[in-house]
Symmetry: C2
Subunit: 262 residues, 2 copies
């Protein structure tokens, strides 16, 4: 981490709740004084899309005017990951200095990093060697209050822009839904082993055929006090540094040593 | 790794190419003597879906008869990840002894583990503490020859069923497309930093509006001889043990030590 000289960076913003979601407007507001902001976001909600890309249908990309104050904006029919690819290749024609995703309406802590379109967009940028951060607020409501979130987004992005981190720098930031004065600050964490215990709500359509809605309860299996779930429960903003090398090196060693079919 | 006693295990099979793809038929053929096989797979191709889940539309789940020789089969309108969730909750009503995904038509080595519906289904099972393996053949063709692949699938699954591994056991297996006698065996590897250098093919529809197809060239940035890409180039079956804890512990330590906004 070395300090670098101040300049006006290009900030790419995307999300998975769609270009009209209040959360992305808050993200633009929070950082527009820190650089030149370009928004490239899905034209409809894409929550739960994970790292999906669009290969079966053609992608559309259209300029949207008068949607953000102080940012150029484009919408696509693609996924959050497509937005990052299209932004770099077809709009910016260069890598932005940073990519921000969110602010998501709802938590993306623990295992949710894997299902989240917000985090997948940020990860896509990180794979492309663009420093990247995904932001989520622990409030699913469309009327969520992003005031305190904007404060922390500004603080974190300003700090990251001012430093030189490793080239695949990627953070998963979750922000408790509460007034600023009740928060305890920022805590760097590991990803908790906590997940949804799924259930399916079984119903019948008017023709008597069954259908299912995915539902479930969130369960924390992780008692560590160094996790994102713990930090959020204790009124901290959780920051999990994320990587895309999924190799399980412990199991790799064990297999290399003991697996009789090698 | 301790040997466990023989019994007839329940083998859950899914894929991302859809229930009618030749690859899933080969997977069933390869392992049906090793246990009771249940197939729950998408009713249409779902390649590139990553870890997407279906939350915006209702899920359907229907029995399909006479499609596999020696396996009960169900199809859904959901993603590969949905298939695993539905199989456990609505069909098996218990965890299977192992979950197998594939055999994918096309490579899922290196960074592709993140975009792949095949590997995301396997990872979903692993999150649920079900030992799981994703298989891919390096041949995108619908007429791909799975003969050698079936040999290695049988060998690997038989070995894994006979042992007691860690509860989130997950492997990403890629198989070269060549006759068995030309292969050099199995190699345990790490995930290469190799990825598609994207481009978009820009076209005009009959109304004069632009649209894009995602395309690109595969580029290997990783010179290591311990990667899956290296192994496959040298005619090995590559086995990458995979984990879903995405925490970057190196960056975590650095931030905890030096980040001035904490």
């Amino acid at each position: 981490m070395t300090e670098i000289k101040e300049e006006r960076p290009i900030i790419l913003i995307t999300n998975d709740d769609g270009i009209t979601a209040p959360g992305i407007k808050s993200l633009v507001n929070a950082v527009k004084d820190l650089g030149d902001v370009i928004v490239v976001a899905p034209d409809k909600p894409q929550s739960g899309m994970g790292h999906a890309i669009t290969i079966g249908v053609p992608l559309r990309l259209n300029r949207v005017k008068d949607i953000f104050d102080g940012a150029e904006a484009w919408q696509t029919n693609g996924t959050p990951v497509d937005c990052v690819k299209l932004a770099v290749d077809k709009i910016l024609h260069r890598k932005p200095d940073i990519c921000l995703s969110g602010i998501n309406h709802g938590a993306n802590h623990s295992i949710n990093v894997i299902y989240s379109g917000t985090m997948s967009a940020a990860m896509e940028a990180s794979i492309e060697s663009i420093p990247s951060i995904g932001f989520s607020l622990l409030d699913y409501s469309i009327e969520a209050d992003f005031t305190a979130a904007e404060h922390y987004v500004h603080k974190i992005v300003k700090s990251v822009l001012g430093k030189k981190f490793e080239k695949h720098f990627l953070l998963n930031v979750n922000i408790p839904s509460m007034p600023l004065e009740l928060m305890n600050g920022i805590k760097v964490c590991r990803q908790a082993y906590a997940k949804y215990d799924e259930d399916f709500d079984e119903r019948q359509d008017p023709n008597g055929r069954k259908y299912y809605w995915l539902t479930g309860q969130f369960v924390n299996f992780d008692e560590g006090e160094d996790t994102d779930v713990w930090a959020l429960e204790h009124n901290y903003v959780s920051v999990v540094p994320v990587q895309f090398d999924l190799t399980n090196y412990t199991l790799k060693k064990e297999l290399e040593k003991n697996w009789d079919i090698l």
